[in-house]
């Protein structure tokens, strides 16, 4: 395929890849507070700024709450704005998450997925991504380092688009992706992607000669209309996201879509999964297919807005669906992804057999043996929830 941007092949870990993406996006403002496992992202970006390679304002703040607050102001002022966090940092940003979305900022945030305390743990769970699921941020999940780079560039284009105007989170599994060096292809320099990602043209930009009040009080007489407008706008973003995926493919030669399917169409059992474990599951499913098991994998690149129709369409004729959650939603009918999948199927009139597999919490390795155990457990017709690889 003839691509437009000049690219190079090299080895980077996920954090460095995201830092390169923000650098290549030529961001204007980086507002961030260091937290494992995303620290390398902001370290690299601060080096780019310090070395004079990136003409950006690096705001070293005193907390994540301030990091996102400053990012909101910067984005409203018209700056291409980036931040990164993980776990407890995302939790501290929580109230500003809703403000960033409701004020229709175009912030891009990398989230190095990490388990919530307690006990303190620095490794991967999807607790933080799930905690932000209702906040009105577009969320992408990277499966590997290449995707972390690409989706960060895509996120800027999507979030700044005048038909979108919502902030984005790019999720990458803590340590599994943030700290693993993988070969990937990146653009040679920021000038190579200017055509894909030109300078930002902000809407409602802060302008002293045309004053606007951001975040005013809106009581029962207006709040509901404002939320309805936000809901309609958010739910209409997937159409534009898919167009940006196509534009990026023309530009880079790499193809993206809201969901990825392997052997789903004729499968009896399909595993639904987010993040790096999709790769593990794809390897396992290929192996199981050779043994005659009719299995498939469905993984989501776009997690919010949740592609309900596509998920329901893909899974409608599947006997058994195993939804894999790298988190636990205490007291809920199932894990967070499980609830999304169940609701999506129900919305389109399907009532398949659903099993919830809880796996990999706090960075517990998800091994091929565990995948075998999980497949085996599905053979018991009474099973509804599996804790994969837990001792007991």
């Amino acid at each position: 395929m003839n691509t437009i941007g000049k690219q190079v092949r090299l080895g980077l870990n996920g954090d460095e890849a995201v830092a390169y993406a923000a650098y290549h996006a030529d961001v204007d403002v980086i507002s961030a507070y260091p937290i494992t496992p995303q620290t390398i992202i902001v370290e690299r970006l601060s080096e780019f700024v310090y070395n004079g390679e990136l003409d950006a304002e690096f705001i070293a703040v005193e907390s994540e709450h301030s990091a996102l607050s400053a990012a909101v102001g910067a984005s409203l002022a018209g700056a291409r704005t980036f931040t990164a966090t993980a776990s407890q940092g995302l939790a501290l940003m929580y109230e500003i998450l809703y403000i960033a979305s409701s004020l229709r900022t175009s912030i891009v945030m990398a989230l190095g997925n990490r388990a919530f305390s307690a006990p303190i743990n620095i490794h991967c769970s999807h607790d933080d991504a799930y905690a932000a699921r209702d906040a009105g941020w577009i969320q992408f999940f990277a499966e590997n380092v290449q995707e972390a780079y690409d989706l960060t560039l895509i996120a800027f284009k999507v979030s700044e688009d005048k038909k979108v105007l919502f902030p984005s989170i790019v999720n990458l599994d803590g340590f599994i992706l943030t700290h693993s060096v993988e070969p990937l292809t990146i653009f040679e320099d920021k000038k190579e992607i200017k055509e894909f990602l030109p300078d930002r043209e902000a809407v409602n930009k802060i302008d002293p000669s045309n004053p606007i009040t951001y975040g005013p009080l809106a009581l029962p007489d207006y709040y509901m209309e404002i939320k309805k407008q936000q809901a309609e706008a958010f739910n209409s973003t997937p159409a534009r996201i898919k167009e940006v995926f196509s534009e990026y493919e023309e530009f880079s030669g790499r193809s993206y879509s809201p969901l990825k399917k392997l052997y789903v169409d004729d499968a009896d059992i399909v595993f639904v999964v987010l993040g790096s474990t999709a790769g593990t599951m794809r390897t396992m499913v290929k192996k199981w297919r050779k043994n005659g098991e009719k299995v498939g994998v469905l993984s989501l690149t776009l997690y919010r807005p949740f592609p309900s129709r596509e998920v329901a369409e893909a899974l409608k004729d599947v006997d058994t669906i195993v939804v894999m959650d790298r988190s636990y939603s205490f007291g809920s009918p199932g894990g967070q992804l499980y609830m999304d999948v169940a609701a999506a199927l129900n919305k389109y009139g399907r009532y398949n057999r659903l099993i919830n597999a809880i796996y990999g919490l706090g960075g517990r390795d998800f091994t091929p043996e565990m995948a075998e155990d999980m497949l085996h457990a599905t053979k018991d017709p009474s099973i509804r929830e599996i804790w994969v690889g837990v001792r007991g």
Partner: protein, 96 residues
Amino acid sequence: MSSWPVKWEELPIGGVVDKPGNSLEVKTGSWRALKPVIDLDKCIKCLLCWVYCPDNAIIRRDDDYVEVDYEYCKGCGICAHECPTKAIDMVEEGGE
């Protein structure tokens, strides 16, 4: 407020207020339960009420005596509390 949009489709993106200075259209005087009444015989023109009023609802006259702008005064009573000569009484609305 008649010029303001009604339907969700008509609102400015992000719920911003894109017409500056519109707070004048909101007559907050209707919120008032207690109404400040100034006895100018006791007023010493210290202007503390004018300084303290959180809503700019004390009007400073050319002669430095003061009046209340009842269209915007919410009746918080800070002026009466601050007045050193007790020249301001808080009177129940409709009860005078």
